[in-house]
Protein backbone atom coordinates (compact mmCIF):
# COMPACT_ATOMS: atom_id res chain seq x y z
CA UNK A 1 0.00 0.00 0.00
CA UNK A 2 2.99 2.31 -0.47
CA UNK A 3 1.36 4.13 -3.40
CA UNK A 4 -2.01 4.59 -1.72
CA UNK A 5 -1.06 7.67 0.27
CA UNK A 6 0.52 9.27 -2.79
CA UNK A 7 -2.53 8.59 -4.95
CA UNK A 8 -4.92 9.77 -2.24
CA UNK A 9 -3.06 13.06 -1.82
CA UNK A 10 -3.11 13.46 -5.60
CA UNK A 11 -6.86 12.78 -5.80
CA UNK A 12 -7.62 15.21 -2.97
CA UNK A 13 -5.42 17.81 -4.62
CA UNK A 14 -7.22 17.39 -7.92
CA UNK A 15 -10.53 17.83 -6.09
CA UNK A 16 -9.20 20.96 -4.39
CA UNK A 17 -8.20 22.61 -7.68
CA UNK A 18 -11.33 21.63 -9.58
CA UNK A 19 -14.06 24.24 -10.07
CA UNK A 20 -16.63 21.42 -10.18
CA UNK A 21 -15.80 20.61 -6.55
CA UNK A 22 -16.72 24.10 -5.40
CA UNK A 23 -19.87 24.15 -7.54
CA UNK A 24 -20.98 20.85 -6.00
CA UNK A 25 -20.17 22.12 -2.50
CA UNK A 26 -22.13 25.35 -3.00
CA UNK A 27 -25.16 23.53 -4.42
CA UNK A 28 -25.06 20.96 -1.63
CA UNK A 29 -24.82 23.56 1.11
CA UNK A 30 -27.59 25.67 -0.44
CA UNK A 31 -29.87 22.65 -0.67
CA UNK A 32 -29.10 21.45 2.84
CA UNK A 33 -29.33 24.99 4.23
CA UNK A 34 -32.82 25.25 2.76
CA UNK A 35 -33.73 21.86 4.27
CA UNK A 36 -32.53 22.97 7.70
CA UNK A 37 -34.44 26.22 7.41
CA UNK A 38 -37.63 24.33 6.53
CA UNK A 39 -37.12 21.96 9.47
CA UNK A 40 -36.76 24.86 11.94
CA UNK A 41 -39.70 26.69 10.38
CA UNK A 42 -41.87 23.59 10.73
CA UNK A 43 -40.63 23.08 14.28
CA UNK A 44 -41.63 26.62 15.17
CA UNK A 45 -45.17 26.21 13.85
CA UNK A 46 -46.13 22.62 14.68
CA UNK A 47 -45.26 20.64 17.77
CA UNK A 48 -42.67 17.94 17.01
CA UNK A 49 -41.45 15.02 19.10
CA UNK A 50 -37.97 14.89 17.62
CA UNK A 51 -35.46 17.76 17.87
CA UNK A 52 -34.69 19.69 14.63
CA UNK A 53 -31.32 17.93 14.20
CA UNK A 54 -32.95 14.50 14.16
CA UNK A 55 -35.54 15.68 11.64
CA UNK A 56 -32.88 17.32 9.52
CA UNK A 57 -31.00 14.03 9.06
CA UNK A 58 -34.25 12.31 8.01
CA UNK A 59 -33.75 13.90 4.59
CA UNK A 60 -30.20 12.51 4.28
CA UNK A 61 -31.27 10.41 1.28
CA UNK A 62 -31.90 13.46 -0.93
CA UNK A 63 -28.26 14.59 -1.07
CA UNK A 64 -27.13 10.94 -1.12
CA UNK A 65 -28.97 10.02 -4.32
CA UNK A 66 -27.92 13.24 -6.06
CA UNK A 67 -24.53 14.19 -4.66
CA UNK A 68 -22.91 10.74 -4.44
CA UNK A 69 -23.41 10.02 -8.17
CA UNK A 70 -22.11 13.49 -9.01
CA UNK A 71 -19.04 12.96 -6.84
CA UNK A 72 -18.17 9.48 -8.04
CA UNK A 73 -19.36 9.18 -11.64
CA UNK A 74 -16.14 10.67 -13.04
CA UNK A 75 -13.72 8.85 -10.77
CA UNK A 76 -13.00 5.74 -12.84
CA UNK A 77 -15.25 6.10 -15.92
CA UNK A 78 -13.50 9.22 -17.16
CA UNK A 79 -10.04 7.81 -16.48
CA UNK A 80 -10.98 4.73 -18.48
CA UNK A 81 -12.40 6.80 -21.33
CA UNK A 82 -9.25 8.94 -21.57
CA UNK A 83 -6.94 5.94 -21.14
CA UNK A 84 -5.23 7.52 -18.11
CA UNK A 85 -6.30 4.57 -15.96
CA UNK A 86 -4.33 2.30 -18.27
CA UNK A 87 -1.31 4.60 -17.93
CA UNK A 88 -1.71 4.40 -14.15
CA UNK A 89 -1.80 0.60 -14.32
CA UNK A 90 1.58 0.52 -16.08
CA UNK A 91 3.19 1.79 -12.85
CA UNK A 92 3.88 -0.49 -9.88
CA UNK A 93 0.74 0.92 -8.16
CA UNK A 94 -1.82 -1.87 -7.76
CA UNK A 95 -5.44 -1.72 -8.91
CA UNK A 96 -6.61 -1.90 -5.30
CA UNK A 97 -4.48 1.09 -4.35
CA UNK A 98 -5.92 3.09 -7.24
CA UNK A 99 -9.51 2.13 -6.35
CA UNK A 100 -8.99 2.89 -2.66
CA UNK A 101 -7.43 6.27 -3.41
CA UNK A 102 -10.37 7.24 -5.64
CA UNK A 103 -12.83 5.93 -3.07
CA UNK A 104 -11.38 7.64 -0.02
CA UNK A 105 -10.93 10.95 -1.86
CA UNK A 106 -14.64 10.91 -2.77
CA UNK A 107 -15.58 9.75 0.72
CA UNK A 108 -13.58 12.44 2.50
CA UNK A 109 -15.10 15.08 0.26
CA UNK A 110 -18.59 13.71 0.95
CA UNK A 111 -17.98 13.74 4.71
CA UNK A 112 -16.40 17.19 4.46
CA UNK A 113 -19.58 18.51 2.86
CA UNK A 114 -21.74 16.99 5.58
CA UNK A 115 -19.39 18.31 8.25
CA UNK A 116 -19.97 21.81 6.95
CA UNK A 117 -23.70 21.38 7.56
CA UNK A 118 -22.94 20.92 11.27
CA UNK A 119 -22.51 24.68 11.28
CA UNK A 120 -26.23 25.16 10.59
CA UNK A 121 -27.38 24.59 14.21
CA UNK A 122 -24.59 26.89 15.40
CA UNK A 123 -25.72 29.60 12.94
CA UNK A 124 -29.34 29.06 14.03
CA UNK A 125 -28.37 29.46 17.70
CA UNK A 126 -26.34 32.54 16.86
CA UNK A 127 -29.20 34.27 15.06
CA UNK A 128 -32.25 32.97 16.95
CA UNK A 129 -30.47 33.38 20.28
CA UNK A 130 -32.73 31.02 22.33
CA UNK A 131 -32.87 32.01 25.97
CA UNK A 132 -33.41 28.45 27.21
CA UNK A 133 -30.14 26.50 27.39
CA UNK A 134 -32.19 23.29 27.02
CA UNK A 135 -33.57 24.50 23.68
CA UNK A 136 -33.85 21.69 21.08
CA UNK A 137 -31.42 23.68 18.93
CA UNK A 138 -28.72 22.80 21.45
CA UNK A 139 -29.35 19.08 21.09
CA UNK A 140 -25.86 17.93 20.15
CA UNK A 141 -26.57 14.26 20.89
CA UNK A 142 -29.00 13.77 18.00
CA UNK A 143 -26.78 15.93 15.83
CA UNK A 144 -23.66 13.83 16.46
CA UNK A 145 -25.69 10.61 16.19
CA UNK A 146 -27.08 11.67 12.81
CA UNK A 147 -23.66 12.72 11.61
CA UNK A 148 -22.21 9.39 12.69
CA UNK A 149 -24.91 7.60 10.70
CA UNK A 150 -24.03 9.70 7.64
CA UNK A 151 -20.34 8.78 8.08
CA UNK A 152 -21.05 5.07 8.40
CA UNK A 153 -23.71 4.76 5.69
CA UNK A 154 -21.59 6.99 3.42
CA UNK A 155 -18.93 4.28 3.37
CA UNK A 156 -21.27 2.04 1.40
CA UNK A 157 -22.99 4.71 -0.68
CA UNK A 158 -19.73 6.18 -1.98
CA UNK A 159 -18.40 2.66 -2.64
CA UNK A 160 -21.49 1.95 -4.77
CA UNK A 161 -20.87 5.16 -6.72
CA UNK A 162 -17.26 4.11 -7.39
CA UNK A 163 -18.42 0.64 -8.45
CA UNK A 164 -20.90 2.17 -10.92
CA UNK A 165 -18.08 4.33 -12.30
CA UNK A 166 -15.89 1.26 -12.85
CA UNK A 167 -18.54 -0.50 -14.95
CA UNK A 168 -18.70 1.96 -17.85
CA UNK A 169 -16.61 4.50 -19.75
CA UNK A 170 -19.55 6.88 -19.95
CA UNK A 171 -19.79 9.23 -16.96
CA UNK A 172 -23.49 9.90 -17.56
CA UNK A 173 -24.28 6.18 -17.55
CA UNK A 174 -22.15 5.79 -14.40
CA UNK A 175 -24.11 8.59 -12.74
CA UNK A 176 -27.47 7.07 -13.68
CA UNK A 177 -26.36 3.62 -12.56
CA UNK A 178 -25.17 5.00 -9.25
CA UNK A 179 -28.43 6.96 -8.76
CA UNK A 180 -30.51 3.84 -9.48
CA UNK A 181 -28.52 1.62 -7.10
CA UNK A 182 -28.72 4.15 -4.27
CA UNK A 183 -32.40 4.80 -4.86
CA UNK A 184 -33.25 1.09 -4.75
CA UNK A 185 -31.07 0.57 -1.68
CA UNK A 186 -32.43 3.48 0.34
CA UNK A 187 -35.97 4.07 -0.90
CA UNK A 188 -36.73 0.67 -2.45
CA UNK A 189 -36.40 -1.11 0.89
CA UNK A 190 -38.69 1.44 2.51
CA UNK A 191 -41.29 0.88 -0.21
CA UNK A 192 -41.08 -2.88 0.31
CA UNK A 193 -42.19 -2.36 3.91
CA UNK A 194 -45.45 -0.92 2.63
CA UNK A 195 -46.27 -4.06 0.68
CA UNK A 196 -48.89 -6.38 2.28
CA UNK A 197 -46.31 -8.87 3.61
CA UNK A 198 -48.61 -10.27 6.24
CA UNK A 199 -51.05 -11.38 3.55
CA UNK A 200 -48.53 -13.86 2.21
CA UNK A 201 -47.47 -16.10 5.11
CA UNK A 202 -44.35 -17.46 3.37
CA UNK A 203 -43.05 -13.88 2.99
CA UNK A 204 -43.81 -12.82 6.54
CA UNK A 205 -40.32 -13.75 7.76
CA UNK A 206 -38.75 -11.35 5.27
CA UNK A 207 -40.39 -8.38 6.93
CA UNK A 208 -37.99 -8.16 9.92
CA UNK A 209 -35.01 -8.69 7.58
CA UNK A 210 -36.04 -5.82 5.30
CA UNK A 211 -36.78 -3.70 8.34
CA UNK A 212 -33.35 -4.43 9.76
CA UNK A 213 -31.68 -3.37 6.51
CA UNK A 214 -33.58 -0.07 6.50
CA UNK A 215 -31.22 2.96 6.60
CA UNK A 216 -34.05 5.03 8.11
CA UNK A 217 -34.24 2.60 11.02
CA UNK A 218 -30.48 2.90 11.56
CA UNK A 219 -30.69 6.68 11.40
CA UNK A 220 -33.44 6.70 14.00
CA UNK A 221 -31.35 4.53 16.31
CA UNK A 222 -28.27 6.68 15.91
CA UNK A 223 -30.24 9.91 16.45
CA UNK A 224 -31.59 8.51 19.70
CA UNK A 225 -28.08 7.63 20.82
CA UNK A 226 -28.46 3.88 20.28
CA UNK A 227 -25.02 2.70 19.12
CA UNK A 228 -25.64 -0.76 17.74
CA UNK A 229 -22.62 -2.56 16.25
CA UNK A 230 -24.76 -4.38 13.68
CA UNK A 231 -25.14 -1.36 11.31
CA UNK A 232 -21.37 -0.80 11.60
CA UNK A 233 -20.78 -4.38 10.52
CA UNK A 234 -23.45 -4.21 7.81
CA UNK A 235 -22.08 -1.07 6.16
CA UNK A 236 -18.39 -1.91 6.63
CA UNK A 237 -18.67 -5.47 5.30
CA UNK A 238 -20.72 -4.40 2.31
CA UNK A 239 -18.28 -1.60 1.59
CA UNK A 240 -15.39 -4.08 1.52
CA UNK A 241 -17.41 -6.34 -0.77
CA UNK A 242 -18.29 -3.52 -3.16
CA UNK A 243 -14.71 -2.20 -3.27
CA UNK A 244 -13.47 -5.74 -3.97
CA UNK A 245 -15.95 -6.00 -6.84
CA UNK A 246 -14.75 -2.63 -8.17
CA UNK A 247 -11.12 -3.81 -8.12
CA UNK A 248 -12.06 -7.00 -9.93
CA UNK A 249 -14.12 -5.09 -12.50
CA UNK A 250 -11.13 -2.85 -13.29
CA UNK A 251 -8.70 -5.76 -13.49
CA UNK A 252 -11.03 -7.85 -15.64
CA UNK A 253 -11.49 -5.03 -18.13
CA UNK A 254 -7.85 -4.02 -18.14
CA UNK A 255 -6.29 -7.44 -18.62
CA UNK A 256 -8.67 -9.07 -21.08
Amino acid sequence: MRHFHLLLVHELRMLAVSAATYSAAVLFLLMMGLMYFLVIYQYDNVFQNDPPSAQYFQVFWIPVVFVVPLLTMKSLAEERRHGTLEAMLTTPASTLEIVLAKYFAAYFFYIGLWALTLLFPWIAVLFLNPANPDSPLHDTASLSGGFMFVCISGLLYVALGVLASSLTRNTLVAGMLSFSMLFVLIIGGNLLLHLPWQDAPFLANFHPVVEYLQPFQHLQDFSRGVMDTRPFFLYASNTILVLGMTTMAIEARATN
Partner: protein, 348 residues
Amino acid sequence: MPEALLIPPPGSAANTVVARPSLQAIGLTKEYGSVRAIENLSFTVARGEIVGFLGPNGAGKSTTMRIFSGLLAATSGRAYVAGIPVAKSPDEAKRRLGYMPEHNPLPDDMRVAEYLHLRARLKEVPRKKAKARVEEVLEMCGLQHKTRRKLIGTLSKGYRQRVGIADAILAEPEVILMDEPTIGLDPHQILSIRRLIDSLRGRLTVLISSHILPEIEMCCDRVMIINQGRLVAVGTSASLRRELLTRSEWRVRLKGDVATFEQLLPEVHAGLRLAACSAVDSDGFVEIRLEGPANEPGLGENLLTAVTRRGSWRVREIAFVEPGLEQIFLAATKQGEDTLAPFARKYK
Protein backbone atom coordinates in the same frame (compact mmCIF):
# COMPACT_ATOMS: atom_id res chain seq x y z
CA MET B 1 16.33 -20.46 -44.71
CA PRO B 2 17.61 -16.92 -45.18
CA GLU B 3 19.62 -15.51 -42.31
CA ALA B 4 17.38 -12.52 -41.71
CA LEU B 5 14.30 -14.68 -41.41
CA LEU B 6 15.72 -16.98 -38.82
CA ILE B 7 13.26 -16.93 -35.98
CA PRO B 8 14.42 -19.50 -33.42
CA PRO B 9 11.63 -21.71 -32.16
CA PRO B 10 11.04 -21.62 -28.41
CA GLY B 11 13.38 -23.82 -26.48
CA SER B 12 15.73 -24.39 -29.41
CA ALA B 13 19.47 -24.09 -29.08
CA ALA B 14 19.42 -20.94 -31.20
CA ASN B 15 17.20 -19.33 -28.59
CA THR B 16 19.73 -19.84 -25.79
CA VAL B 17 20.88 -16.38 -24.80
CA VAL B 18 24.28 -15.84 -23.30
CA ALA B 19 23.69 -12.26 -22.12
CA ARG B 20 20.32 -11.63 -20.53
CA PRO B 21 18.07 -9.92 -23.08
CA SER B 22 16.05 -6.90 -22.05
CA LEU B 23 12.93 -8.22 -23.71
CA GLN B 24 12.08 -11.80 -24.48
CA ALA B 25 8.92 -13.34 -25.86
CA ILE B 26 8.60 -17.11 -25.92
CA GLY B 27 5.66 -18.51 -27.85
CA LEU B 28 3.35 -15.61 -26.95
CA THR B 29 -0.23 -16.12 -28.05
CA LYS B 30 -3.21 -13.91 -27.31
CA GLU B 31 -6.76 -14.79 -28.23
CA TYR B 32 -9.81 -12.55 -27.99
CA GLY B 33 -12.59 -15.10 -28.14
CA SER B 34 -12.18 -16.85 -31.46
CA VAL B 35 -9.84 -14.18 -32.83
CA ARG B 36 -6.14 -14.85 -32.44
CA ALA B 37 -4.37 -11.48 -32.18
CA ILE B 38 -0.84 -12.90 -31.90
CA GLU B 39 0.30 -16.42 -32.56
CA ASN B 40 3.35 -18.10 -31.07
CA LEU B 41 5.47 -14.96 -31.08
CA SER B 42 9.12 -15.47 -30.09
CA PHE B 43 11.85 -12.87 -30.14
CA THR B 44 14.52 -11.25 -28.02
CA VAL B 45 15.76 -7.69 -27.79
CA ALA B 46 19.29 -7.27 -26.45
CA ARG B 47 20.20 -4.66 -23.88
CA GLY B 48 20.79 -1.21 -25.36
CA GLU B 49 19.21 -2.04 -28.71
CA ILE B 50 16.68 0.19 -30.45
CA VAL B 51 14.31 -2.07 -32.32
CA GLY B 52 11.53 -1.10 -34.68
CA PHE B 53 8.32 -3.10 -34.49
CA LEU B 54 6.47 -2.89 -37.77
CA GLY B 55 3.26 -4.31 -39.04
CA PRO B 56 0.02 -3.35 -40.74
CA ASN B 57 -2.97 -2.25 -38.67
CA GLY B 58 -4.29 -5.07 -36.54
CA ALA B 59 -1.10 -7.10 -36.92
CA GLY B 60 -0.70 -7.46 -33.15
CA LYS B 61 1.91 -4.81 -32.31
CA SER B 62 -0.07 -3.07 -29.59
CA THR B 63 -1.26 -6.40 -28.16
CA THR B 64 2.36 -7.55 -27.83
CA MET B 65 3.37 -4.29 -26.16
CA ARG B 66 0.42 -4.43 -23.78
CA ILE B 67 1.39 -7.95 -22.75
CA PHE B 68 4.94 -6.78 -21.96
CA SER B 69 3.59 -3.81 -19.99
CA GLY B 70 1.44 -6.11 -17.87
CA LEU B 71 -1.84 -4.61 -19.08
CA LEU B 72 -2.89 -7.75 -20.91
CA ALA B 73 -2.50 -11.36 -19.93
CA ALA B 74 -1.24 -13.66 -22.69
CA THR B 75 -3.37 -16.70 -23.48
CA SER B 76 -0.20 -18.78 -23.62
CA GLY B 77 3.54 -18.24 -23.80
CA ARG B 78 5.89 -16.21 -21.67
CA ALA B 79 7.04 -12.60 -21.72
CA TYR B 80 10.15 -11.43 -19.86
CA VAL B 81 11.21 -7.89 -19.11
CA ALA B 82 14.82 -7.65 -17.95
CA GLY B 83 14.67 -11.37 -17.22
CA ILE B 84 11.56 -11.02 -15.04
CA PRO B 85 8.46 -13.01 -16.06
CA VAL B 86 5.67 -10.46 -16.55
CA ALA B 87 2.87 -12.89 -15.70
CA LYS B 88 4.44 -14.02 -12.42
CA SER B 89 5.92 -10.73 -11.19
CA PRO B 90 4.04 -7.93 -12.95
CA ASP B 91 4.99 -5.27 -10.41
CA GLU B 92 8.67 -6.14 -10.61
CA ALA B 93 8.51 -6.12 -14.42
CA LYS B 94 6.75 -2.74 -14.39
CA ARG B 95 9.59 -1.30 -12.33
CA ARG B 96 11.96 -2.06 -15.21
CA LEU B 97 9.74 -0.85 -17.99
CA GLY B 98 8.62 2.51 -19.32
CA TYR B 99 5.58 2.31 -21.57
CA MET B 100 4.16 4.98 -23.80
CA PRO B 101 0.79 3.65 -24.99
CA GLU B 102 -0.76 4.39 -28.36
CA HIS B 103 -2.55 7.78 -28.36
CA ASN B 104 -0.49 8.70 -25.29
CA PRO B 105 -3.23 9.25 -22.69
CA LEU B 106 -2.43 12.15 -20.37
CA PRO B 107 -4.53 14.03 -17.80
CA ASP B 108 -5.53 17.36 -19.33
CA ASP B 109 -5.97 19.14 -16.01
CA MET B 110 -2.45 18.68 -14.65
CA ARG B 111 0.64 20.76 -15.29
CA VAL B 112 3.58 19.08 -17.03
CA ALA B 113 6.06 19.19 -14.13
CA GLU B 114 3.38 18.29 -11.60
CA TYR B 115 2.32 15.26 -13.66
CA LEU B 116 5.88 14.04 -14.12
CA HIS B 117 6.55 14.45 -10.42
CA LEU B 118 3.53 12.31 -9.58
CA ARG B 119 4.58 9.68 -12.11
CA ALA B 120 8.12 9.68 -10.71
CA ARG B 121 6.82 9.01 -7.22
CA LEU B 122 4.44 6.31 -8.50
CA LYS B 123 7.34 4.70 -10.30
CA GLU B 124 9.18 4.65 -6.99
CA VAL B 125 11.85 7.21 -7.75
CA PRO B 126 13.06 8.13 -4.23
CA ARG B 127 11.52 11.35 -2.91
CA LYS B 128 14.92 13.08 -2.68
CA LYS B 129 15.84 12.23 -6.25
CA ALA B 130 12.43 12.76 -7.85
CA LYS B 131 12.72 16.53 -8.25
CA ALA B 132 16.17 16.35 -9.83
CA ARG B 133 15.10 13.51 -12.12
CA VAL B 134 12.01 15.41 -13.27
CA GLU B 135 14.19 18.43 -14.06
CA GLU B 136 16.55 16.18 -15.99
CA VAL B 137 13.85 14.64 -18.20
CA LEU B 138 12.18 18.02 -18.70
CA GLU B 139 15.46 19.27 -20.13
CA MET B 140 16.08 16.11 -22.16
CA CYS B 141 12.65 16.32 -23.75
CA GLY B 142 12.69 20.08 -24.32
CA LEU B 143 9.92 20.73 -21.82
CA GLN B 144 11.71 23.15 -19.53
CA HIS B 145 10.97 26.88 -19.13
CA LYS B 146 7.36 27.86 -19.86
CA THR B 147 6.15 24.43 -21.01
CA ARG B 148 6.75 22.84 -17.63
CA ARG B 149 4.08 25.04 -16.05
CA LYS B 150 1.50 24.58 -18.81
CA LEU B 151 -1.61 22.48 -18.40
CA ILE B 152 -1.20 19.30 -20.42
CA GLY B 153 -4.58 19.89 -22.06
CA THR B 154 -3.25 23.08 -23.68
CA LEU B 155 -0.15 21.44 -25.23
CA SER B 156 0.27 20.71 -28.94
CA LYS B 157 0.37 17.10 -30.11
CA GLY B 158 4.18 17.23 -30.41
CA TYR B 159 4.64 18.45 -26.85
CA ARG B 160 2.17 15.88 -25.56
CA GLN B 161 4.29 13.18 -27.21
CA ARG B 162 7.33 14.63 -25.48
CA VAL B 163 5.54 14.44 -22.14
CA GLY B 164 4.73 10.79 -22.91
CA ILE B 165 8.36 10.02 -23.70
CA ALA B 166 9.53 11.96 -20.63
CA ASP B 167 7.18 9.80 -18.55
CA ALA B 168 8.48 6.61 -20.13
CA ILE B 169 12.14 7.41 -19.37
CA LEU B 170 11.46 9.03 -16.00
CA ALA B 171 12.35 6.15 -13.71
CA GLU B 172 15.39 5.21 -15.83
CA PRO B 173 13.93 1.81 -16.71
CA GLU B 174 15.95 -0.76 -18.56
CA VAL B 175 13.33 -1.06 -21.28
CA ILE B 176 11.10 1.46 -23.02
CA LEU B 177 8.14 0.52 -25.18
CA MET B 178 6.73 3.21 -27.45
CA ASP B 179 3.55 2.51 -29.34
CA GLU B 180 3.37 4.81 -32.36
CA PRO B 181 5.31 7.71 -30.80
CA THR B 182 5.30 9.76 -34.01
CA ILE B 183 1.69 9.26 -35.06
CA GLY B 184 -0.02 12.51 -36.07
CA LEU B 185 3.11 14.64 -35.83
CA ASP B 186 4.39 17.09 -38.44
CA PRO B 187 7.89 16.54 -39.97
CA HIS B 188 9.56 18.98 -37.54
CA GLN B 189 8.04 17.24 -34.55
CA ILE B 190 8.98 13.82 -35.98
CA LEU B 191 12.56 14.99 -36.34
CA SER B 192 12.71 16.21 -32.75
CA ILE B 193 11.20 12.97 -31.44
CA ARG B 194 13.73 11.02 -33.52
CA ARG B 195 16.59 13.02 -32.00
CA LEU B 196 15.16 12.33 -28.59
CA ILE B 197 15.05 8.59 -29.27
CA ASP B 198 18.56 8.76 -30.72
CA SER B 199 19.75 10.31 -27.47
CA LEU B 200 18.63 7.16 -25.63
CA ARG B 201 20.78 4.91 -27.81
CA GLY B 202 23.06 2.61 -25.84
CA ARG B 203 21.59 3.65 -22.49
CA LEU B 204 18.16 2.07 -22.73
CA THR B 205 16.55 -0.72 -24.67
CA VAL B 206 13.82 0.70 -26.86
CA LEU B 207 11.07 -1.08 -28.78
CA ILE B 208 9.19 1.30 -31.08
CA SER B 209 6.16 0.49 -33.14
CA SER B 210 5.50 2.90 -35.96
CA HIS B 211 3.98 3.32 -39.36
CA ILE B 212 6.51 5.99 -40.35
CA LEU B 213 8.94 3.58 -41.93
CA PRO B 214 11.80 6.00 -42.82
CA GLU B 215 11.82 7.08 -39.16
CA ILE B 216 12.19 3.51 -38.01
CA GLU B 217 14.94 2.90 -40.52
CA MET B 218 16.84 5.97 -39.37
CA CYS B 219 16.70 5.40 -35.64
CA CYS B 220 16.49 1.62 -35.18
CA ASP B 221 19.33 -0.88 -35.01
CA ARG B 222 17.07 -3.71 -36.01
CA VAL B 223 13.55 -4.24 -37.33
CA MET B 224 10.91 -6.83 -36.53
CA ILE B 225 7.99 -7.17 -38.92
CA ILE B 226 4.77 -8.72 -37.68
CA ASN B 227 1.83 -9.67 -39.84
CA GLN B 228 -1.44 -11.33 -38.85
CA GLY B 229 -0.04 -11.93 -35.38
CA ARG B 230 3.11 -13.71 -36.51
CA LEU B 231 6.68 -12.50 -36.81
CA VAL B 232 7.52 -12.59 -40.51
CA ALA B 233 10.94 -10.92 -40.59
CA VAL B 234 13.66 -9.91 -38.16
CA GLY B 235 16.96 -8.26 -38.98
CA THR B 236 18.76 -5.07 -39.87
CA SER B 237 17.44 -3.05 -42.80
CA ALA B 238 20.42 -4.17 -44.87
CA SER B 239 19.98 -7.87 -44.13
CA LEU B 240 16.24 -7.69 -44.74
CA ARG B 241 16.86 -5.85 -47.99
CA ARG B 242 19.25 -8.58 -49.07
CA GLU B 243 16.96 -11.41 -48.10
CA LEU B 244 13.54 -10.14 -48.98
CA LEU B 245 14.01 -8.08 -52.11
CA THR B 246 14.47 -10.12 -55.25
CA ARG B 247 14.58 -7.16 -57.65
CA SER B 248 16.79 -4.10 -57.86
CA GLU B 249 15.76 -0.80 -59.38
CA TRP B 250 17.79 1.65 -61.48
CA ARG B 251 17.09 5.15 -62.66
CA VAL B 252 18.54 6.46 -65.93
CA ARG B 253 18.07 9.98 -67.32
CA LEU B 254 19.03 10.23 -70.96
CA LYS B 255 18.34 11.99 -74.25
CA GLY B 256 18.03 9.79 -77.31
CA ASP B 257 16.14 6.85 -78.73
CA VAL B 258 14.57 4.87 -75.88
CA ALA B 259 13.75 1.86 -78.09
CA THR B 260 17.46 1.39 -78.96
CA PHE B 261 18.29 1.76 -75.28
CA GLU B 262 15.80 -0.98 -74.41
CA GLN B 263 17.42 -3.30 -76.97
CA LEU B 264 20.74 -2.79 -75.19
CA LEU B 265 19.48 -4.06 -71.84
CA PRO B 266 19.69 -7.86 -72.47
CA GLU B 267 23.35 -7.36 -73.38
CA VAL B 268 24.00 -5.89 -69.92
CA HIS B 269 22.05 -8.60 -68.04
CA ALA B 270 19.45 -11.10 -69.16
CA GLY B 271 17.17 -10.14 -66.25
CA LEU B 272 17.35 -6.37 -66.79
CA ARG B 273 14.22 -4.81 -68.27
CA LEU B 274 12.64 -1.40 -68.76
CA ALA B 275 9.93 -0.91 -66.15
CA ALA B 276 8.78 2.65 -66.85
CA CYS B 277 9.62 5.64 -68.95
CA SER B 278 8.61 9.25 -68.30
CA ALA B 279 7.51 11.79 -70.90
CA VAL B 280 10.20 13.91 -72.57
CA ASP B 281 10.99 16.94 -70.43
CA SER B 282 11.71 20.49 -71.66
CA ASP B 283 15.39 19.60 -72.20
CA GLY B 284 14.46 16.54 -74.28
CA PHE B 285 15.49 14.08 -71.53
CA VAL B 286 13.46 11.11 -70.30
CA GLU B 287 13.64 9.32 -66.98
CA ILE B 288 13.73 5.55 -67.32
CA ARG B 289 13.15 3.05 -64.54
CA LEU B 290 14.91 -0.27 -64.93
CA GLU B 291 14.29 -3.44 -62.99
CA GLY B 292 16.92 -6.10 -62.60
CA PRO B 293 17.87 -8.94 -60.34
CA ALA B 294 18.93 -8.07 -56.79
CA ASN B 295 22.38 -8.83 -55.38
CA GLU B 296 24.23 -8.49 -58.70
CA PRO B 297 27.26 -6.43 -57.73
CA GLY B 298 28.54 -5.90 -61.30
CA LEU B 299 25.25 -4.83 -62.80
CA GLY B 300 25.66 -1.09 -62.29
CA GLU B 301 29.17 -1.06 -63.70
CA ASN B 302 28.11 -3.10 -66.74
CA LEU B 303 25.21 -0.78 -67.41
CA LEU B 304 27.42 2.28 -67.20
CA THR B 305 30.02 0.76 -69.52
CA ALA B 306 27.42 -0.35 -72.08
CA VAL B 307 25.69 3.03 -72.20
CA THR B 308 28.87 5.08 -72.54
CA ARG B 309 30.39 2.67 -75.13
CA ARG B 310 27.49 3.12 -77.51
CA GLY B 311 27.65 6.89 -77.21
CA SER B 312 24.42 7.48 -79.10
CA TRP B 313 22.69 9.00 -76.05
CA ARG B 314 23.39 11.93 -73.84
CA VAL B 315 23.30 10.48 -70.32
CA ARG B 316 22.79 12.69 -67.26
CA GLU B 317 22.28 10.11 -64.57
CA ILE B 318 22.54 6.40 -63.87
CA ALA B 319 21.61 5.64 -60.29
CA PHE B 320 20.78 2.62 -58.17
CA VAL B 321 17.50 3.24 -56.37
CA GLU B 322 18.09 2.24 -52.77
CA PRO B 323 15.00 0.31 -51.63
CA GLY B 324 13.53 1.77 -48.48
CA LEU B 325 12.04 0.01 -45.51
CA GLU B 326 8.69 0.52 -47.17
CA GLN B 327 9.57 -1.95 -49.93
CA ILE B 328 10.98 -4.38 -47.36
CA PHE B 329 7.84 -4.03 -45.28
CA LEU B 330 5.59 -4.63 -48.28
CA ALA B 331 7.67 -7.60 -49.40
CA ALA B 332 7.72 -9.11 -45.90
CA THR B 333 4.02 -8.65 -45.23
CA LYS B 334 3.13 -9.91 -48.72
CA GLN B 335 5.35 -12.95 -48.18
CA GLY B 336 3.87 -13.38 -44.72
CA GLU B 337 0.33 -13.25 -46.09
CA ASP B 338 1.20 -15.87 -48.70
CA THR B 339 2.67 -18.09 -46.00
CA LEU B 340 -0.21 -17.47 -43.63
CA ALA B 341 -3.03 -17.78 -46.15
CA PRO B 342 -3.97 -21.36 -45.19
CA PHE B 343 -3.73 -20.40 -41.50
CA ALA B 344 -5.93 -17.33 -42.02
CA ARG B 345 -8.54 -19.43 -43.80
CA LYS B 346 -8.51 -21.91 -40.95
CA TYR B 347 -9.36 -19.23 -38.41
CA LYS B 348 -11.99 -17.42 -40.45
